[in-house]
C-alpha cells in the first residue's frame, strides 16, 4: 500500500514533468495521458483512503519526509483527486494550445496537492506547499504573451510566498522549541516558541486560503484559464490553506490564541469577501471572492476545532465551486465573456451547462438540502457553542453567500436580452458551442454539489466524526438548520426582486491589492533602487576612490588617470542629478565625503613621497641627514 501512497505523488509528478519537458511534441497526447494519470491517481487515492498507509523516508537530517493517510486525508484526498480528474476532462475540451505544458503543469500541481494532503512533517508539507505556489504561478501565467496575466501570476506567487515565510519560521521555531518537525507534534513546542509556530502556520495557511488580508491575490489569479481557476483557486490549492489549519487545529488550540484568531479571521473573511462577491459584475471575480468567503468557514471550523464539519465544507465547496468555475469557463469560451450582464440568459441557451450551474449556485446559496447548507450549519453549530458573536457573523456571511449566489442564478436564468450578441466576445472570440468533454464533468460535479451534504449526516458523517475522534462536539439543532435554510431561500428570492448594491470598496476587493502596492511593494522597490544607487555610488566608489587615490598618489600615467578622473567626474555629475531627484540615501555626502577626504590625503602623500626623488644631489644629502637625525631621535626617545 505504501507503493500506492508513493504513486499518488510520484506518478503525476513524473508524468507532469515529462509532459512539460516534451513541450509541443506532447501536445497531441497530453490530454489523454493526463486524464489517464488523473484517473489512476483517483483510484490510488480511494485505495489509500481505505487502507490508510503511512510511510517515512529520510529527507533532511532529523526531518524525514513523512507521508500518511488519516481520516481527514481520507475525506479530502479522494475529493481532490476526483475534482482534478473532472477538471482535466473539461480541460481536454477547453484548452487548445500548448497542451503539453498545460497538462504537465496540472499534473505537477496534482502531485503537489496530493503530497500536501498526505504530508505529516513540515519539510514534506513545505515542499508541496511551495510547488503548489510555483505551479499556480505558471498556470495563471499560462498565456505568457499577455503581460497582465504574467503579472497576475507574479502577484499570486509572491503573496502566497510572503505568507509561506511563516512556515519557514515555524520550522525553525519548532526545532528551537524542541518539538521536532512532525506536524502532529508541533503543539508540543515549548515556551514562546509555540506561539511562533502557531503564528507561522496560521499566516501561511491564511495566505494560501486567500483569507484576510491576503485575499487580493485571488482576484488577479482569475486571469488564468478557467480550469485553473476551477482546480487551483477553488477546489485544491486555496482549499489546502484551510486543510492545513484543520490538520493543525490542535496546535492552534494549544497556543491559546491562534484558534480564536483563526475563527475570527475566517468569519470576518466570510462576511467581507461575501460583500465583495456581491458587488462583483464579473462572474469569475464573483466566484473568486466567494471562494475566499466560503473558505472562511473552513478556517472558522479549524479555529473552533470543528474538523469534521470543516472537512465536509471543504469537500462540498470543492465540488460546488469547481462546477461553477467550469461552467463559467464553458460560457467564456463559448460566448467570449465572463461579465455578468452579458451572460444574462446564458443558462437558458445551454441548459446542459445551465442546470448543473443552477444546482451549484443553489448549493452555494445554502439552499436546502444541498451540500453546503448542511456542512455550513455543521460548522456554525460549533461556532455558536464557542461564541455567539462568531455565530452571528457567520450567519451574516451565509446570508451574503445566498445573495451573491442568487445574483448569479437570477442573471443566468433571466431571458436573454435582444441585443445579447453585443455583450459577447469582450475577452476573446467565442466559439458559440460547448463541447461534450466540457459538458460531461459538469453533471458529475453537480451531483457532488447536491449530495455531498451526506458527509455530515449519518451514517457517513458519524463514521467520519468517530474516525476523527470528535465525539463530544455539538451538532446543529433543527432550529438552526431551519433558520439558515429560511435565510438562504429568503435572500435568494429577495435578490430576484431587489437590485443589489455594488459599493466601490467591495467591488475593488476592499482595496487590499492597492494597499499592498502602496504599503509593501512600492517601498521595497524604492528601497531596492536606493540601495542599488548606494551600492554603485558609495560603496563601490569609495573603493574606486581609494584606488584612484593610491594611483593618484603615484601621479602620472596620464591615460589611466584621465580615464578614472573622467569617470569620477561623470559619476559625480549623474550622481548630483539623481541626488537632486531625491535619492533616499541621507548620509551619502558624509560617507562619500570622508572617503574622498582620505583619498585626497593619500594622493598628496604619494606625490610628496615621489617628489623626494628630485634628481638634485644636494637635496638627497639633506634628506639623508634629516632621516638619520629622525632615526637618532627615535632611538634616543624610545629607549
Amino acid at each position: 500500500m505504501t507503493a500506492l501512497l508513493w504513486a499518488l505523488v510520484v506518478l503525476p509528478a513524473v508524468v507532469g514533468a515529462l509532459l512539460c519537458g516534451a513541450g509541443r511534441r506532447a501536445d497531441r497526447v497530453a490530454p489523454a495521458v493526463a486524464v489517464g494519470t488523473a484517473g489512476l491517481v483517483l483510484a490510488a487515492a480511494i485505495a489509500v483512503a481505505v487502507s490508510r498507509p503511512a510511510v517515512s523516508v529520510p529527507f533532511l537530517p532529523g526531518a524525514d519526509l513523512g507521508l500518511a493517510v488519516d481520516a481527514l486525508t481520507a475525506v479530502v484526498l479522494p475529493a481532490v483527486a476526483a475534482v482534478t480528474l473532472l477538471v482535466l476532462v473539461f480541460s481536454a475540451g477547453e484548452i487548445t494550445g500548448a497542451r503539453g505544458r498545460f497538462f504537465g503543469l496540472m499534473l505537477l500541481f496534482e502531485a503537489a496537492v496530493a503530497l500536501t494532503t498526505v504530508a505529516t512533517t513540515l519539510p514534506a508539507l513545505l515542499f508541496a506547499w511551495e510547488v503548489m505556489g510555483a505551479t499556480s504561478y505558471a498556470l495563471i501565467a499560462f498565456s505568457w504573451r499577455d503581460p497582465d496575466r504574467v503579472g497576475a501570476g507574479t502577484t499570486a506567487f509572491l503573496t502566497t510566498r510572503a505568507a509561506d515565510l511563516g512556515l519557514y519560521v515555524a520550522a525553525g521555531a519548532a526545532l528551537a522549541g524542541g518539538a521536532g518537525l512532525g506536524l502532529d507534534r508541533l503543539a508540543d513546542a515549548g515556551g514562546p516558541w509555540l506561539d511562533v509556530v502557531a503564528a507561522g502556520v496560521l499566516v501561511a495557511a491564511l495566505g494560501k486560503a486567500a483569507q484576510l488580508p491576503f485575499s487580493f491575490w485571488l482576484s488577479r489569479a482569475m486571469e488564468g484559464p478557467s480550469p485553473v481557476s476551477a482546480l487551483l483557486h477553488s477546489a485544491a490549492m486555496v482549499a489546502m490553506g484551510g486543510y492545513l489549519l484543520l490538520r493543525t487545529a490542535p496546535l492552534l488550540a494549544a497556543s491559546g490564541w491562534a484558534d480564536d484568531a483563526a475563527a475570527w479571521v475566517g468569519a470576518l473573511t466570510a462576511v467581507a469577501l461575501g460583500a465583495v462577491a456581491v458587488a462583483q459584475r464579473d462572474l469569475k471575480q464573483l466566484l473568486a471572492a466567494s471562494t475566499a468567503a466560503q473558505l472562511g468557514y473552513v478556517v472558522l471550523a479549524a479555529g473552533v476545532a470543528a474538523v469534521s464539519g470543516g472537512a465536509a465544507h471543504l469537500v462540498a465547496h470543492a465540488s460546488t465551486k469547481a462546477l461553477l468555475f467550469l461552467a463559467a469557463g464553458a460560457w467564456l469560451s463559448a460566448l467570449g465573456t465572463k461579465q455578468l450582464p452579458a451572460l444574462r440568459g446564458a443558462a437558458r441557451r445551454w441548459p446542459v451547462v445551465g442546470v448543473p450551474a443552477a444546482v451549484g449556485a443553489l448549493s452555494l446559496a445554502g439552499v436546502v438540502p444541498l451540500s453546503l447548507w448542511a456542512s455550513k450549519d455543521e460548522v456554525l453549530a460549533v461556532a455558536r457553542e464557542h461564541s455567539l458573536p462568531l455565530y452571528v457573523v457567520g450567519l451574516a456571511g451565509a446570508a451574503l453567500s445566498a445573495a451573491y449566489a442568487g445574483k448569479v442564478l437570477w442573471i443566468l436564468w433571466r431571458r436573454p436580452p435582444a441585443a445579447a450578441e453585443s455583450g459577447y466576445d469582450t475577452e476573446r472570440p467565442g466559439t458559440r458551442q460547448v463541447g461534450g468533454l466540457q459538458q460531461a464533468p459538469l453533471g458529475v460535479l453537480a451531483a457532488g454539489a447536491a449530495v455531498l451534504g451526506l458527509l455530515v449526516w449519518p451514517p457517513v458523517g458519524t463514521a467520519i466524526r468517530t474516525a476523527l475522534g470528535e465525539t463530544g462536539l455539538p451538532r446543529p439543532s433543527v432550529l438552526e438548520m431551519v433558520l439558515s435554510a429560511v435565510l438562504a431561500v429568503g435572500v435568494v428570492l429577495a435578490v430576484g426582486r431587489l437590485p443589489l448594491p455594488e459599493p466601490r470598496w467591495a467591488a475593488g476587493w476592499l482595496g487590499l491589492g492597492t494597499a499592498t502596492q502602496v504599503v509593501a511593494v512600492r517601498p521595497v522597490l524604492r528601497l531596492a533602487e536606493a540601495l542599488a544607487r548606494f551600492d554603485d555610488r558609495v560603496l563601490d566608489r569609495s573603493v574606486t576612490a581609494a584606488a584612484v587615490a593610491v594611483r593618484g598618489a603615484a601621479g602620472g600615467f596620464a591615460r589611466f588617470d584621465d580615464r578614472v578622473l573622467d569617470r569620477a567626474v561623470e559619476a559625480t555629475g549623474t550622481g548630483g542629478v539623481r541626488a537632486a531627484r531625491g535619492a533616499a540615501v541621507a548620509d551619502t555626502t558624509g560617507f562619500d565625503g570622508a572617503a574622498e577626504g582620505v583619498a585626497a590625503a593619500l594622493r598628496r602623500l604619494g606625490d610628496l613621497l615621489r617628489r623626494t626623488q628630485t634628481g638634485q644631489l644636494h637635496q638627497y644629502y639633506v634628506q639623508a641627514a634629516v632621516v638619520l637625525a629622525a632615526a637618532l631621535a627615535l632611538l634616543l626617545l624610545t629607549r
Partner: protein, 496 residues
C-alpha cells in the same frame, strides 16, 4: 588519488600551454576529455568514500613539504570538502562543454581553465593552511587572466579590481594564518592539528584579531556586504564560463574557509564574534536581494543574488556559533544547510550564468530593456531559464530549497535573530519573477526578435547542472548523509 585528481588538470594545462601548434578542436576536446576524466575520478572518490570515524579524513595523503615552518603537503577529504570537490568537477565539465564552440584562443582558454580547476580542487582538499593559501591565491591569478583575457566591456578594469580586492583579502587571510601558526604549540600550519589544538582559546584579544583577519579575507572572497563591490563588475565583464566558475566555485572558497578553518580552529573567538557574522549574513541576505531587485542588467542581477545566497551561508555559520541552550541539533542542521547551499548555489548559479552568457553571445547585451518576449523565439532557453530561476529562488524539488530550509530551520532554531533573514527568500522570488517577466514574457520585442534558441552545447551543461540540482532537491539524503556527520563535527568543535 587526491593528488591525481588535483594535478591531472594542471598537467594537462601545462601540456596544452606548451603545445603551440595544437589545432583548436584538439585543445577543446582535450579539455573536455580531461574534465570528464576528472568527473570519473571524483565519482570513484565519492563511491569509495566512507565517513571516517571521529571527524577524520578520507583519502588522506601527507608528504613533507616545508617542515621547517610546520607545513606539509597534506590533503584529504571529509563531508565538508567532498561535495565541493564533486561540484568543482561538475561545473568545470559543464564549462568545457559550453566552450566547445568558443573561437577565442581556445588552447589558452583550455589551459587556463584546467589550471583553475587544479587550484579549486586543490583548495578544497588542502588540509594545510599554506597549501590552502597557495591554491587560494593561484585561483585569483587564474581568474584574473580569465576575466582580463576573455572578458568584454571594461574587462581590464574589472579584472584589476577583482585582483586587487581579492588579493587584499588573501593577504589578510595570510596574516591570520600566520597568527594561528604562531599561536599553536608546536608551530604548525596543519589544519587538523590546529583544529585539535584550538590555539588562542585562552587569549580572547589575540583570538579576535586573528579571527578578524581571517574573516576579512574570507568575507572579501565570499563576498559579503560591504566587501562585495568587486563582484558585479567582475561578473558583468567576465565571459560566461568565467562567471560560472567564479560564482560556482571561487565564491565557495570563502564560505568553505569558514567551516574548514575559522570555526573549528578558533571556537572561542567564533563564539564571541558569531553575532557579527550573523549580522553581516543577515545584511548580506537582505541587501544583496534588494540591490539585485533594482538591477536592470541580468548578469549584474545574478551577481547580486550571489551576495544574497552567500549571505544565507553566513547566517547559518553565524548561528552555529551561538552556543546557547543546547540547540545542538538545530545548529548542526544550519551547518549542513550551509554546506548544501554551497553546492546548490554552485550548480544553480553556474547554470544561470551560462544562460546569461548566451544573451551576450547572441546580441552583445545583458540589459533587460533590450529584450522582451524571448519565450517565443527561444522556448528552450526560456524554459531552462525559468527552471534555473525557480531553482535559485529556493523552489522545493531543487537543491536550493533543501539548503535554505535547513539554514532557516537550523538558524532560527539556534537564535531568533536569524528570522530577520527570512524575507530574503521572498525578495529573491520577486526579483527573479520580475526579471523573467521582463525578459521572456509579453510581446516579442527589441533584440529578442530572431533570437536563436539554445544549441546543444549550450543546452547540455545547463541542463545537466539543473538536473543535478533537481536530483539533490528530490533525493537529498545521499548528499546530506555525506555532509551531516562533518557538520556535526564542526558544530561539536565550535562548541568547545
Amino acid at each position: 588519488m587526491l593528488s591525481l585528481i588535483v594535478f591531472l588538470p594542471l598537467a594537462a594545462a601545462v601540456v596544452l600551454g606548451a603545445a603551440r601548434a595544437l589545432p583548436d578542436a584538439v585543445s577543446r576536446w582535450t579539455w573536455l576529455g580531461v574534465t570528464v576524466a576528472e568527473l570519473a575520478l571524483v565519482a570513484v572518490l565519492v563511491a569509495g568514500y566512507d565517513t571516517p570515524p571521529d571527524g577524520g579524513l578520507a583519502w588522506e595523503e601527507r608528504l613533507r613539504w616545508i617542515p621547517s615552518v610546520g607545513s606539509s603537503y597534506h590533503v584529504g577529504v571529509d563531508g565538508l570538502s567532498l561535495p565541493l570537490v564533486a561540484l568543482t568537477a561538475v561545473v568545470f565539465c559543464a564549462c568545457a562543454v559550453h566552450a566547445l564552440k568558443d573561437a577565442r584562443r581556445p588552447r589558452a582558454q583550455a589551459a587556463l581553465f584546467l589550471f583553475l580547476q587544479s587550484t579549486c580542487l586543490g583548495l578544497f582538499v588542502a588540509q594545510d593552511l599554506i597549501l590552502f593559501f597557495v591554491f587560494f591565491d593561484l585561483s585569483i591569478v587564474g581568474m584574473y587572466f580569465v576575466i582580463a583575457g576573455w572578458g568584454h566591456g571594461g574587462a581590464a578594469r574589472s579584472a584589476l579590481k577583482f585582483f586587487l580586492y581579492t588579493f587584499l583579502g588573501s593577504l589578510a587571510l595570510l596574516v591570520g594564518f600566520i597568527g594561528l601558526y604562531l599561536a599553536a604549540d608546536p608551530h604548525t600550519f596543519d589544519i587538523p592539528e590546529l583544529v585539535a589544538a584550538a590555539p588562542l582559546a585562552d587569549d580572547a584579544v589575540a583570538g579576535a584579531w586573528v579571527l578578524g583577519a581571517i574573516l576579512l579575507g574570507l568575507a572579501v572572497k565570499t563576498p559579503t556586504v560591504p566587501f562585495h563591490t568587486w563582484l558585479p563588475p567582475a561578473h558583468t565583464d567576465a565571459p560566461a564560463i568565467g562567471s560560472a566558475v567564479l560564482a560556482g566555485i571561487l565564491l565557495k572558497m570563502g564560505t568553505y574557509g569558514f567551516v574548514r578553518i575559522a570555526m573549528p580552529a578558533l571556537p572561542d573567538a567564533w563564539q564571541a564574534w558569531a553575532w557579527v557574522v550573523l549580522t553581516v549574513g543577515v545584511v548580506s541576505v537582505l541587501y544583496g536581494a534588494l540591490v539585485a531587485l533594482a538591477q536592470t542588467d541580468v548578469k549584474r542581477m545574478i551577481a547580486y543574488t550571489s551576495v544574497n545566497h552567500m549571505g544565507y551561508v553566513l547566517v547559518a555559520v553565524g548561528a552555529a556559533g551561538v552556543v546557547a541552550d543546547g540547540a545542538q541539533e538545530a545548529r548542526e542542521l544550519a551547518v549542513t544547510g550551509a554546506v548544501t547551499q554551497m553546492v546548490s548555489h554552485g550548480l544553480i548559479t553556474s547554470a544561470l550564468f551560462l544562460l546569461a552568457g548566451v544573451l551576450h553571445d547572441r546580441v552583445g547585451s545583458y540589459a533587460m530593456a533590450d529584450f522582451g518576449g524571448l519565450a517565443a523565439p527561444a522556448p528552450r532557453y526560456a524554459g531552462l531559464f525559468a527552471v534555473g530561476a525557480f531553482a535559485s529562488l529556493g523552489l522545493p524539488a531543487f537543491s536550493g530549497f533543501v539548503a535554505e530550509f535547513q539554514i532557516f530551520a537550523g538558524s532560527i532554531g539556534a537564535t531568533w535573530f536569524a528570522v530577520l533573514a527570512v524575507p530574503g527568500i521572498l525578495l529573491t522570488a520577486a526579483l527573479f519573477l520580475r526579471a523573467y517577466q521582463r525578459l521572456f514574457t509579453g510581446p516579442t520585442a527589441g533584440r529578442a526578435e530572431g533570437f536563436p534558441d539554445l544549441r546543444t552545447h549550450e543546452l547540455l551543461p545547463v541542463g545537466g547542472l539543473l538536473l543535478l540540482s533537481l536530483l539533490i532537491g528530490v533525493v537529498p539524503w545521499p548528499l546530506l548523509d555525506l555532509i551531516a556527520p562533518a557538520a556535526e563535527t564542526v558544530v561539536g568543535l565550535v562548541s568547545r
